[in-house]
Amino acid sequence: MSNANTAVHGDHHPVDPNVPLEYHEEENSLRVTGFWLFLGQDMILFSSLFATYIVMHGRVAGGPTSQQLFDVTGFTIETIALLFSSFTCGLATYEMRRGHRNAVIGWILVTMALGLVFLGFEVSEFIHDVGIGATIQRSGFLSAFYILVGTHGSHVTVGLLWVTLLVIQLLRRGITPATARKVFLWSIYWHFLDAVWIFIFTVVYLTGKVI
């Protein structure tokens, strides 16, 4: 590797050992840049959904309003679980920088468990709402609510499936520049979902409980 041109990307540059592992090969470093841009477009996607939700919030068409529907205990536990999972995800990255593979996997598993708790509460909230007739077909408000919150939830689901594949690769290959890059990308994705949730928590749930 070291005596050849790295990839399509020009000539090889000497590696600074203080730079984290995921930036050691230019190919991996490019992917990190690309992934940040991907998150940028995902942010625009969520912004559009938020804008639509805000327009739709009052359009209940005689159906249930946000004040009637939202359950404070449920969304509070959900929020705490997800925020805490961001912290444990950060610990996984920290252990990765220190080269402790098993600790990385351990913290990923904790993160996944918290993610599952979050998803469980969300799904049970949806099932409950549908049970009392608050379906996506009921009103513009509910359409926007389910799609905004559901898009976030499906992102979390993808994150869980994705990291499952990464755990298998960590077990097989250990921490290499490639697996380090993959875990790092997943971790910024996870933190991003946390940031989006903070907006859902304030814009949808807190505001929805007050107005």
Partner: protein
């Protein structure tokens, strides 16, 4: 049994008359012909190995261009059908339903399946070569982008003969396109196909942003980049910010239609105007996505054939960035008639007019580039120069439309139709032809014939103006868009007839172009030097077509117009003699982008017809492909030094 036959007849639209039968016949003939040729000349393996699995930006660029030309034919045929229908009062060549479908597919195909792939094709053909690198940042993703576009285009075109075309216009405004008023698969085709190609476009935007940000040759600072690369950079930023909004608008409308939600319905608390806002928040930047790269390539063409460096490089860059920013704050001018009030309408009127300023800067810079230049009127140059007067008319009528009170008169009239065709044909299509004549030798190693090129240009230029200039007057005379026929006695008949004649002249020009391609492939002048135009940027420093790895040694850039400088100083692209080659690391070909996009097609078909099993099969297939990719570690190879030496020796660069 009878029921099944009835269903099939309706599903395959055999009860819709001769236009569909003819299309069916032509599609079957063309498909059989392709299969026969591939089998007879044993080309299946070649097709798979060289094209369907390629991750090489040059080949992907060629495939984009071919697809764009095919879609120009499809969209152009739609246009001619419409012009035939409107040629005279009280015509009933097409029924109202068919006319609605055809103007919808015309607009959608021309913007998303013709203009977009043509633009992105040029990204692929030129950018990596211009910045001196060996491929885009993510070659595998690049292949996915292309195949998603390709299968989306196939899905969209299928609607003509299976299930029925969309008929809500290329903007697909609710509430009309909601299930309540417009049932059937037609609008679903539109929503699904655009969503799929949109994913590919977002990936392209990210890909070229990273490529340009991170992979420029040493010495190529931002302010030394070729103008086309600058335009691609700015365009990619617009793509990144605009296309997700379209994705949301389309998805919400599809959810309304497939699952009965109430985003844009008239009842149940829906807000139809929310769709219109989301759509144009993408839609207005979109028109800059298809024009800014044209501005970039015109800058290249005009500077090359004036044999001068571009006038006002920094002003060109600043004006492009200004256009990009302004493009996001003008979307309401598409619906001043919504009645948002004088404050809002004034803001969007003024922001729209403001775009004329940076655009004017660019026009003057092109003219000053030519001033005292050694002008060479090649076909590529003619097409670029053709943009200036045509786009000027398009732009100035745009400023007229930007005045809200006046817009209440022009809105949705033929004045508007003429205006945006002057920008999209007079700008984008002319520019695409300019780029094709300019980069054809780089793509294929053959020059297009100049004499035929001139015929092509002048026939098109004359036909285009005959077709669309009268439509400004039709607008003043009260003719609105999307009307399928009109009574006699309004004085519209003769004007429409003139317009139709112009449209068919453009059709003739297209035939001349296709003939030129075929003639040149056989008899055209071969480009043996790699630099047929005495070019200025790095793509002309390598062979035509460029070797697989583009540059044996990554060049070092010492200023703007890097290749021109090297030629002035008598330098070789491979640097000083005797620098040893090293093995080059390149990505492997992969069949997965093709297969995964085919699965997207299946997923999409499931959503079009609400066949959920099909949708689930497609979706699971896509997930499996992505998981497989995650486990793929061995996805690249090294080109050995001997092979590089052989290639470079054959190119006379040793």
């Amino acid at each position: 049994m009878h029921g099944v036959v009835n269903w099939a007849v309706h599903f395959f639209m055999l009860d819709e008359g001769p236009l569909i039968w003819l299309s069916d016949f032509l599609i079957i003939c063309a498909s059989l012909g392709i299969v026969a040729v591939l089998t007879k000349f044993r080309l299946w393996k070649w097709l798979w190995d060289e094209w369907l699995t390629t991750v090489d930006h040059k080949k992907i660029g060629i495939m984009y261009m071919i697809a764009a030309i095919l879609m120009l034919f499809r969209g152009g045929t739609d246009g001619l059908l419409m012009r035939a229908q409107l040629a005279w009062p009280n015509m009933h060549f097409l029924s109202a339903d068919h006319y609605d479908q055809i103007f919808t597919t015309h607009g959608t195909i021309m913007i998303l399946f013709m203009a977009m792939p043509a633009i992105i094709g040029f990204f692929n053909v030129a950018v990596p070569l211009q910045i001196g690198c060996r491929d885009v940042a993510f070659p595998y993703l690049n292949a996915i982008s292309f195949w998603l576009f390709f299968f989306a285009a196939m899905l969209f075109n299928l609607s003509f003969v299976v299930g029925g075309s969309p008929d809500g216009g290329w903007t697909s405004y609710p509430p009309y396109v909601e299930n309540q008023f417009d049932p059937g698969p037609g609008e679903n085709y539109y929503l699904v196909a655009l969503s799929i190609t949109g994913i590919g476009t977002i990936a392209t935007g990210i890909n070229f942003l990273v490529t340009i940000l991170r992979m420029r040759a040493p010495g190529m600072t931002f302010m030394r980049m070729p103008m086309f690369t600058w335009s691609v950079f700015v365009t990619s930023v617009i793509i990144l910010f605009a296309f997700p909004v379209l994705a949301v608008a389309l998805a919400l409308l599809l959810i309304d239609r497939d699952f009965g939600s109430h985003f844009f319905t008239v009842n149940g608390g829906g807000a139809p105007m929310q769709y219109v806002n989301l759509f144009w928040f993408w839609g207005h930047p979109e028109v800059y996505i298809v024009i800014l790269p044209i501005f970039g390539l015109m800058s290249e063409v005009i500077s090359t054939f004036s044999h001068k460096r571009i006038f006002g490089y920094s002003a060109m860059v600043v004006s492009m960035v200004a256009i990009a920013i302004l493009s996001f704050v003008t979307w309401v001018h598409h619906f001043f008639t919504m009645g948002a009030g004088p404050g809002v309408n004034s803001f969007f009127g003024v922001s729209t007019m403001a775009i004329a300023i940076p655009t004017g800067v660019k026009v003057f810079n092109w003219i000053f580039t030519m001033h005292k230049g050694r002008l060479e009127f090649t076909t590529a140059m003619l097409w670029s120069l053709g943009v200036i007067p045509n786009f000027l008319i398009g732009g100035l009528t745009g400023v007229m439309l930007a005045v809200p009170p006046a817009d209440y008169q022009y809105h949705n009239s033929y004045f508007l139709i003429a205006h945006f065709h002057y920008t999209l044909i007079g700008g984008t299509v002319f520019g695409v032809f300019s780029g094709l004549y300019y980069w054809w030798p780089k793509m294929f190693g053959v020059l297009l014939n100049e004499k035929l090129g001139r015929w092509h240009f002048w026939t098109f230029m004359v036909g285009f103006n005959i077709c669309f200039f009268p439509q400004f007057f039709l607008g003043f005379m009260g003719m609105t868009r999307r009307m399928y026929t009109y009574p006699a006695g309004y004085g519209w008949g003769v004007v429409n007839l003139i317009s139709t004649i112009g449209a068919f002249l453009m059709g003739v020009a297209f035939i001349i172009f296709v003939y030129n391609i075929l003639w040149s492939a056989r008899y055209g002048e071969r480009d043996t030097t790699g630099d047929p135009w005495d070019g200025r940027t790095l793509e002309w420093a390598t062979t035509s077509p460029a070797p697989h790895y583009n540059f044996a040694i990554i060049p070092t850039v010492k200023g703007r117009d890097a290749w021109w400088l090297m030629k002035q100083n008598g330098e070789s692209i491979n640097g000083p003699k005797g620098v040893p080659f090293r093995p080059i690391h390149m990505p492997n070909n992969s069949g997965r982008p093709f297969i995964m996009s085919a699965l997207f097609f299946i997923l999409g078909a499931g959503f079009v017809f609400q066949w959920w099993i099909l949708a689930i099969v497609g979706f699971v297939g896509v997930l499996i492909c992505m998981a497989q990719r995650s486990f793929e570690y061995d996805d690249s190879h090294y080109i050995p030094v001997e092979e590089i030496e052989q290639t470079e020796a054959a190119a006379g660069r040793l």
